[in-house]
Symmetry: C2
Subunit: 517 residues, 2 copies
């Protein structure tokens, strides 16, 4: 029955041209030429009515899960061997396939910024150094994994920010791209979402899966001739200590809420503590306040009120504002109500609605020729598409308030911020620069970590708590203007003066060589 | 290393509440109560500046690939057994887990509309009949698989329509949601895309993977001190009969194209036929016409010109219009140029840009009580969210021109179109109806096919050719107004008079019962 065999998840989880290019490199004798590639994105997600001012990086561990089992298997090679060209002859030659059989991706040296960290455009997030053909062959899975997980981790951080410190849960699996929903849940957790309903992924990641119940539970009881209260009772008896009731199947205030309170009273009598109610339709802010009042009257002011229905960061932001307004009008403490809110995030989180892809790219930036690294560049009419050449290190400079002030791209050996005064240059327009003084820099944190070197993973992948710690620290170090949901302040990414000079030089050489054509 | 074990792809690939609800049903003794669920969507994708007027259904086979291996495995059950409630006691009881161990999804009777067919809102696309708990447990994977694949198949059909009959290729893997890219490629092929670069999925599906080369090939040669022509030559020598050259790395018209032509001449001398060029930036329509002229001058008018760069259906439509304009101004035959065009579809196809999720839902519509089916309904303030109750059959009525005129939802036993005259009622507003005459109906095609019955799959899944045949027939039977890319004409979906009467009756009963609260 199964057509989606593992063949779709290993070496062949790639664009076909990666393999044809590898054969070209192999035939030309340059497959093993040392090369340097960098992964970066060019712009933050723009959701239309709102925009991201930072991203949260995610995907590194998943990428390595792919990488460690990416060596071509016999079935992968058999498929490639079976392919023919337009003349009916084999497309790939046996020598190449024999070589491919022996490739070992662990020889690639890989540096990266840790998952969960705040990252910005034009900054190399992953650096790969190694044989040209091998470094090229990993492009598609690397982009696939980092682009989507970074996109969702970023969206998750925005949901969480809009929700202030309240719990946000991921319910998005049913609107994800097939098995991609698993990557989406992982990324949402890295971005700061608290829980997910995606059971398999929670099981794999060792975090508790969470959920309530569906409208169909109430519907089923109604159709069988029972009432909503019977449905609630059945749920409460089965899960007396974990009882969250969905109260909008018939009518939230007239039916669902009073029935829930009756059931909660019964639970209390038996010594259980009800957990909360969920509302999935209607004016969520108004209903939340109404529910809070009634729950409080009945002595259930500790109950959570889970809100869901096509929420995104702006809607969450708006719900909170409206709750504050409604509370004031009724002389209620808005914070007491807000502290009870839980937000369910579905479609708009898992799809990153409004901006459903990240424009991350993986580009050759240097190649070794006769033992010397030569910077590579791609020119373009669009300045944002002109590469920053060569190997680069990235430092995050922090000011005296311990706020991040600039991510500085440097040549590997330099430390410009050790000078009394130094220039930082705009990454796209080399004529634009600022001068900074050493005394203004409290800390220069190197962002890259060595992940794989000399056939070994030398990095200990952090657990979710460690990732969360890093993320929260990075977020605290961002100016709030950068964290605004709408039209955020632009964070600075700059080139060191030496890197800018190299870029200028390489561009000039390319321009010269163009004259020859 | 691996955390994404198969635990994320079988029974536990689901929302947690499906499993908690199953335990409620089990404890209440209603887990095996026969129930009827239907999958349908409520509205076509709306991409903002353009809108779909039909969808192409996809996902059935993938869903069954999940279903046949969805029985809980020991590791799935062990995970569930390990979960505790807020008191630290087991969340699921042993009796329930023992029962779960033995469940068998093959007892569900499943009817569905075939993959590749044109489908519309409110039409039950998949009908599931069987034990309440089992029919409920499949909800999340069913929605996950059908929603995304139908979304992409629909987008693919639009790309293909915009491209007239020209070849469209899928390059989207790097911007997909992780492994979801495999489902996306499959769906794109079902929707009418001709080829994909996603190698593993092509291998699994038995279709040829296709691709060209990346800018990095040229960049690598340049950095090593060679020229673009050397890069092209290396590619051409490796793939002399399958040579497509990417000509925009340096400058399309001044460098890429003349170099490609030189290489093509060399291939011709050696008896090979070059395949084409690819352009990935710039004014694609203008560049395509320029390339065509130069290629023609050199005797390569048969070469394909592959265009890519963030294409969607409107951009393809616009490129074709502009090519026609440019051709006329130069006294060229526009059709000769158009016949050479190939379109590469990436991000905007695989993400269904503009509308990145389908709002498909899976709802309980009937439940069996004392050997009698009771229709279930969910009421809502929004008419589009009020369910059409009960079991339903769907007929597509065709008029004398052999064009589809209405998808008619009926009670299972009735054939209203056999009457001299019959009413068809608006699915949301029961006061709105039309009268049709038997003589106006050329054909009434029943859309559902029986897929699984009495523990057996009784359906032969069609291959891609058969799917394509169905799709093209259905598209030919749609009025062109419905197929417009922008603001399409609304296709009619209606209820039979008997079904409308049932809906009215069930709604009235619910309204009555509400008074009791």
């Amino acid at each position: 029955m199964s057509i989606f065999k593992p063949i779709t998840q290993g070496f062949l989880f790639t664009d076909f041209y990666q393999i044809t290019m590898a054969q070209v490199y192999y035939r030309q004798g340059i497959a093993l030429q040392p090369a340097h590639f960098e992964y970066f994105f060019r712009s933050y997600p723009n959701y239309g009515s709102h925009q991201a001012g930072f991203c949260i990086l995610a995907g590194l561990r998943t990428f390595f899960e792919w990488l460690v089992q990416a060596k071509p298997r016999p079935e992968d090679l058999a498929y490639l061997k079976s392919l023919t060209n337009r003349q009916g002859k084999p497309l790939f030659d046996l020598q190449f396939l024999d070589w491919l059989k022996e490739i070992d991706f662990s020889c690639l040296q890989i540096e990266a910024i840790a998952e969960g960290r705040v990252v910005h455009p034009h900054v190399p997030l992953v650096s790969v150094t190694g044989p040209l053909a091998l470094a090229q062959l990993i492009e598609t899975p690397l982009l696939n994994i980092f682009n989507y997980q970074t996109l969702v981790a970023t969206k998750a951080a925005r949901f969480k920010r809009a929700a202030r410190s309240q719990v946000v849960m991921d319910f998005g699996l049913r609107r994800a791209q097939g098995l991609g929903g698993n990557a989406g849940t992982r990324a949402a957790l890295i971005g700061g979402i608290d829980f997910s309903s995606n059971t398999g992924t929670c099981a794999a990641l060792g975090v508790p899966a969470k959920g309530t119940h569906a409208h169909s539970l109430v519907q089923a009881f109604l159709a069988l001739g029972y009432g909503e209260e019977d449905a609630f009772l059945a749920f409460a008896e089965t899960f007396p200590d974990d009882c969250i009731l969905l109260i909008d199947t018939i009518n939230t205030l007239e039916s669902g809420l009073p029935h829930a309170i009756k059931i909660f009273q019964r639970l209390r009598q038996k010594g259980h503590k009800p957990v909360g109610v969920r509302i999935d339709s209607g004016d969520l802010a108004f209903l939340a306040v109404e529910c809070y009042q009634e729950l409080k009257k009945a002595g259930f002011e500790d109950c959570f009120i889970v809100l869901s229905n096509q929420l995104d960061e702006l809607l969450i932001h708006q719900i909170i504002s409206q709750v504050e307004d409604e509370a004031k009008e009724r002389n209620l403490d808005p914070n007491a109500i807000l502290s009870r809110l839980v937000f369910g995030a579905g479609t708009r989180l898992i799809t990153s609605a409004g901006s459903c892809s990240l424009d991350g790219v993986y580009k050759l930036t240097a190649i070794k020729k006769q033992n010397k690294w030569v910077p590579a560049i791609k020119i373009s009419d669009s300045p944002s598409k002109i590469l920053n050449p060569g190997h680069k290190k990235v430092y995050r400079l922090k000011d005296k308030r311990n706020k991040a002030m600039v991510d500085l791209l440097c040549l590997p050996e330099e430390r410009p911020f050790d000078h009394f005064e130094f220039k930082v240059v705009h990454p796209l327009d080399l004529n634009v620069f600022r001068k900074l003084k050493r005394e203004d820099v409290l800390e220069a944190e190197e962002l890259h970590q060595l992940i794989q070197k000399e056939n070994k993973i030398v990095y200990e992948f952090p657990d979710f708590d460690q990732i969360a710690h890093k993320r929260e620290k990075d977020l605290a170090e961002l100016d709030s203007g950068v964290k605004r949901l709408i039209n955020p302040h632009v964070y600075h990414v700059s080139l060191s003066e030496q890197l800018a000079t190299l870029k200028e030089k390489v561009l000039a050489e390319i321009q010269k060589s163009k004259i020859r054509f």
